[in-house]
Amino acid sequence: MSAPIVRFRGVSKSYDGRTPVVAGLDLDIARGEFLTLLGPSGSGKTTTLMMLAGFEDPSSGSIELEGKRIDTVPPHKRGIGVVFQNYALFPHMTVARNLAFPLSVRGTSRAEITTRIAKALEMVRLSGFGDRRPQQLSGGQQQRVALARALIFSPSLVLMDEPLGALDKQLREELQLEIRRIHATLGVTIVYVTHDQSEALTMSDRIAVFEGGRIQQLGSADAIYERPANAFVAGFIGENNRMEAVVADSTTLRLSDGTMLATAPHGFSAGERVIACIRPEKVHLAEAGQRAPVTEVVYLGDHCRLRLSYAGLPDFFAKRPSLDGVALPQVGEAVFLAIPPTAVMVFRATPHRE
C-alpha cells in the first residue's frame, strides 16, 4: 500500500478542556479510497471532518495531508474540496459563477474557467443550467452543483458532510450512485460523513464507526456487518437481538432466563457476563428446536418479520424469507427456532471504551 494521503496521529478535540469530542484519533486514509465516517450524532465524526477541512483546530495531535502537517494551515490553503449538507451555494451568484469561484480565486484564466465549467456541468448532468441561480434549482440539483464546485479545482481529497441528509429517499439513492460514479471516474479520495448506515454500507470502501469520540471499528462494509468489533457496532449497524448472558462453558451461554444457547465464546472464561447478539435474518425457523410464541407478523413482500417471545425477551425478532407454498405463521402460534452457533456474536458486557 502506498503512503496514505491523510494521516491523523493522536488527534483529540475538546471544547471545554474536559469532555473530549474526539479522543486520541489515529487514522490513515488511503489514496483514492471512499472512507465513510459513520456514527450517531455527537460521536465526533463531523468534528473529525471539520478538523481535516480546517474549520476546527485539534486540541492535540497532528494531521498530515500528502505527508505534510496541515493542522496549522488555514482552510483556504489546504486545497481540500468540501460538500456541505445545506449545499452552501452562494445565493448571489449564478451556477456558473459558483463553479468559477474556486478557479477565479486561484487566478485561473477566463478561457480555462469556461471550459472547466462546461465539463463540470456535464459531469453532474446539469449542462445548460449555468445561468440559473441556486434558488431556481431543486435540492438534488443544488447538491450536484455543490459537488461540481468542490471538484472543479481538482482537489485530491474531497470531504462530504452528510451531503444527502436534506434530500428525500429516491433522490438520495440517485445521488449516491452519482457520487460513486464520480469517485470511480476521477479516482479522487472521498471522506464521507453520514449517520445513515445503509448509505455507509452501499457507498464505502471502508467505514469508520464512531462513538464517544473514538473509532470503534474501521473496516470494509461486510467486515463491519459480519464481524462487529463490539456490542456498540453490532447494535448500530443493522438489526440485532441483544441479550444479556453468562458464559456457561466453552460451547454454551446461559441467557438470563436460563435458556442455553450454543456458540463458541472465544476469549471468555466460564462465569463471565457477556452480551450475545443475533441478527434477525440469521434466526432460522425449523420443525423442531427452541419454542417461541409469535406475537406479531409483519408482511414485507420479500420477507416477513416475526416478533417472538423468546428466552424471556418480549421483542425477539426473526426474518423469514417469503417462500412458495409455505403459509405464514400466525399470531398466537408457536414456531421453533434454529440458531446456528456461528450466528451468535459474543461481546464483553461493558461497552467497549478504553
Binding site: A53, G54, F55, P74, P75, H76, K77, R78, G79, I80, G81, V82, F84, N86, Y87, A88, L89, F90, P91, H92, F101, P102, V105, R106, R133, P134, Q135, L137, S138, G139, Q142, R149, A150, F153
Partner: protein, 393 residues
Amino acid sequence: MRRTNWLAALLIAPLMLLILGSFLLPVGFALFTAVADREVAATLPRTRAALAAWDGVGLPPEPAFAAMAQELGQALEDRRIGDMAQRLNFERTGMRGLLLRTARAAGRLEAPYAASMVALDARWGEGDTWLLVQRAGGPVTPLYLLRAMDLQRAPGGGVQAVAAEEALYRQLFWRTLGISLAVTALCVLLAYPVAYTIAKLSAPWSAVALMLVLIPFWSSVLVRSTAWFVLLQREGPVNQAMMALGLIDAPVQVVGTRIAVVVALVHVLLPFAVLPMHSVMKRLDGIYLRAAASLGANGVQRFLRVYLPMSMPGVLAGAAMVFLLAVGMYTAPALVGGDRDQMVAWFIAYFMNREVNWGMAAALSAYLLAMTGAAIGLARVLTGGVATIGGRA
C-alpha cells in the same frame, strides 16, 4: 368563503380607516394644496366671472373694472382682502400695494371705472395685471410647483426661469440632496464595521453592543442636536481639545457650517443604518464563508466576494432609511447650520409658520415626497438585483 372574506374585511376596517384618515387624506390634501387656487375666486367672484369671457388681448371690458372696484372695496370692509392680496403679491411683487390702494380708494372711484382706475394707478391699464388676476381665478394653478423649481409662467404663455437673483429652490433641492447623500455615505461607511462587529460578537455581548447603539434614541433629536451645538461652538470642548493638542491656533468656527450639519445628522441617523445592516448580517450563515474558504478564497476574497454582496440588502436598506430621514430633517440643520445650510424642510416650516403660504409649503413637500419616492424606487431596483439571503430550497 364569502362570509369569511366579509369578516376579514371587517377586522381590517379600523386599520384601513386609520390609514385613510391619518395618512391618505392628509397627504392628498397637502398635495392638492400645492396646486389649489382659491383666494381670488373666493374674494372677487364677480370680477372673475366678468374676466372669464375676456380673450386676454388689450384690456378687459368695463364690467370687469366695475366688479373689481366694488369687490375690492367690499373685501377691505369685510377684512377678507389679505389672503387674496398675498396670493397675487406672491406671483408679482407690488400687487398687494396696488390692491390695497385701490380698495381704499374704491368709494371715490366713479364710472367709467376703466378710466378712473387707470387714473388712480397706471398698472390697471396694463393687460398683464388683468391677465394675472384672470389666471388666478382657479381652481388650480401651477404657480407653486413652478416656483418651487425656480420657474414661472411667461407673459406670453409657456414657462420661463425666474430672475437669477430670485432663484433659490433648485439650489435648495441640490443642497438637500447633497447633504443627504453625504450623510448617507458617511453613515453607511461608519455603520458597516459596527454592524459587522456586533454580528460577530457572541451572545451576551452582541445584545449589549446593540443596546449601546440604541441608547441615543433615549433622548430626542432636539437634545442631541443641541449637544452638538454645545460641543462645536467656538469655546466648546472640541475647539479646546484641538487647541490643547496644538492642532489649531485659534478656535475654528464650526457651528453654522455645512460640516456641523453633516456631523449632527450622521450622529442622529447612524443607528438607522446600523440596525438593518445588523439584522441582515446576523442571519448571514457562516457556512457560506466556510464554503468560500474551502474553495480557496483568502480572508479578503471571502469578504469582498461573499460577505459584502450577501450583506448588501442590509446596506441598501440602511442607506435608504438614512437618506429618507436625512432628506426631511429639520431640527439638526436648524440648530447647528447657518443660513446657507438649511434644507427643504426648513423652508417648508418657513412657508407654513412665517409666510402662511400653504401653497408653497405644499409644493416643496410634494417635490420632497417625489425625491424620497425616487430614492425608495431606486433602493427597490437595487435590492431586487441582489439575491435574497439564505437561498436554501
